[in-house]
């Protein structure tokens, strides 16, 4: 009886199987990397209505304003808060009061319509996040927001993905700092960080951070 298929087809099933297996791994790998917030969200830098520079206002070599000067709710409420126009005008009715860059701010003050700042750091509505809890535990601003004081226009520095949250929740020690250093953008952990973290946790009587689903998805 004549052969239906040429001889090379003997190898075909193995090649196909190996190919399918390999492609599966590659597809999972590609999705895992490229569809993750590490790739999609980090670096998000929307254009803001007012060319406000954090670098100018917050950098230690410049005006060196404390974060809490404008983001007043950060220690006491879930949201840090965007300052009202009046906060800007506290200074700017005297300083650079005629600057073109501040035209929108003055207009906002006059009309009473808030400035439509574009939100940079977003968390989904099924995530419960509380700024005050993190600050009380000793997590600094820079741990999640990066060096805001070096940004002309604010960009997202960290992925804010669930895995990223969990990494710190499972092992927070490197990110704890003394209460006085919370807003210090230049602070770096010292040599005795492990010891400090242990003491800090004892002092504040904080348990290990919640890693149950219901910690954030309430």
């Amino acid at each position: 009886m004549a052969q239906i298929f040429p001889q090379w087809t003997n190898k075909a099933p193995f090649v196909v199987l190996a190919g399918v297996g390999f492609s599966l791994v590659v597809v999972v790998g590609l999705v895992w990397y490229y569809a993750s917030p590490w790739n999609t969200d980090v670096g998000y830098r929307p254009i803001q209505p007012v060319p406000y520079s954090h670098k100018l206002h917050a950098n230690i070599d410049s005006l060196s304003l404390d974060c809490r000067f404008c983001h007043t709710g950060v220690e006491t409420s879930p949201v840090a808060g965007i300052p009202p126009t009046q906060t800007c005008m506290n200074c700017h009715n005297m300083i650079k009061a005629d600057s073109d860059k501040l035209a929108l701010v003055r207009e906002s003050l006059k009309s009473g319509t808030p400035i439509a700042w574009v939100r940079v750091h977003k968390s989904p509505d099924y995530v419960y996040f509380d700024h005050s809890a993190h600050l009380t535990a000793g997590v600094g601003c820079a741990s999640c927001h990066g060096r805001i004081d070096e940004m002309e226009v604010v960009a997202q520095a960290k992925p804010l993905s669930m895995g990223w949250c969990l990494e710190c929740h499972r092992n927070p020690d490197d990110h704890l700092r003394p209460a006085g250093e919370i807003t210090n953008m230049n602070w770096t952990p010292g040599a005795n960080q492990a010891e400090f973290a242990k003491k800090q946790k004892q002092f504040l009587d904080i348990q290990a951070p919640i890693t149950d689903c219901t910690g954030c998805h309430r």
Partner: protein, 471 residues
Amino acid sequence: MSILNKKPERDPGAAEAVAGDELLVTGGHTFSSLTDKVSGIVEKKTPQQWYLLFAMAVSGLMVLLGSIGWLVWEGTGIWGLNNPVGWGWAIVNFVFWVGIGHAGTLISAILFLLRQQWRTAINRFAEAMTIFAVICALMFPGIHVGRVWLAYYMFPIPNQMLIWPNFRSPLLWDIFAVVTYFTVSTLFWYVGLIPDLATLRDRAKNLRKKVLGLFALGWRGGNRQWQHYEKAYLMLAGLATPLVLSVHSVVATDFATSLIPGWHTTIFPPYFVAGAVFSGFGMVMTLALIARKIYGLQDIITLNHLEKMNKIILVTGSMVGYSYIMEFFIAWYSGNEFEYFAFINRALGPYAWAYWIMFLCNVITPQIFWFKKLRRSIPVMFVASIFVNIGMWFERFVITVTSLSRDFLPSSWDYYTPSIWDMLTFIGSFGLFFTFFLLFLRFLPMVALAEVKGTLPEADPHNYHKEGGDK
């Protein structure tokens, strides 16, 4: 007339040959007439009933797709779920379909190891039925939270959320058990198909020959190939055998590892397995009777085969009945008032109607098979097999819903009523099942030809030099 065209006839002396047993295949079939019969089903014109049934099945499939589409769009609110009853028909149907799937492996693996040759007449389509039932079953966990795009949570795939399946959850064991079961069943089915696909290939021409040849994997029926093949088949049977017991045991732990009264019982795994085999045979029986009639397979699937299946239905049905009664005894014997209440509530509470449908169908119906006359009556067994299917669906309904609807705290009790979408999804799953099954009947040999031939007297190497057959 040349010798090639001459229809081979059975040697008159051969009929007694198989170790004194009665022949499994009646009607004086020979190797070649069996081949013609079974291959003819897929080669000749399709009977009109097939088109009618297929149209119905595809309509059902469309109903299913529509229901799932609406579910995905709108969410599980379209179902009748309420607060205590968070597991509704989706879970009931899942367990129902997994249970149906058990007959295939039991017939193909356990009966194979026990050398029950009568299995050969029904094993091919029982295995096919298993695979399609498991597909229907696997669909339900995929859609039961209404968010099909999150189905990948069930598998250990790296993701940015650092979410991994929870190994402490029986729902995860479920996925592993059922997917393993599906894989092994499919392999087993396919390996069994290879020689028959080769038979079809050798009878085909052109493209059909190539397609069948592709799937026949170069089978030539040589001695060495058969040796390897039988070893592989034996090993697969060995692998599949524990699965028959494990899959539904794991499904039972979905319930048993929770603390809900009426679920939290150690009898669940064996009781589920018995029920699964029971329901599986019920389904095989229903399908076998229809297929046998439409395709005229009365010689291959004989009354003797059907009677043996009815005996298994009787045995497993009685095991299920024993479990029902034992559950009551233990509920009383445990002294636990919640457990006690759960069972009184089942039999006399708001779902008593479902409980007694279940009891009548599953416990009383199979008892008619104590009588040989009824065991061998086609109409009786057809009706009984359908009752078995109904009863086993209600068993899952009773277990899932009665326990949830009345748990520890009376203030949280509620009555569960399915919505039209629950029903359409369930009806649609039959559409999915029958679409697959009818395609199988149309394109693949529905009887394991090579194996059935092995039960003929001519397959015995000593057949031709026995007394009466001096050749």
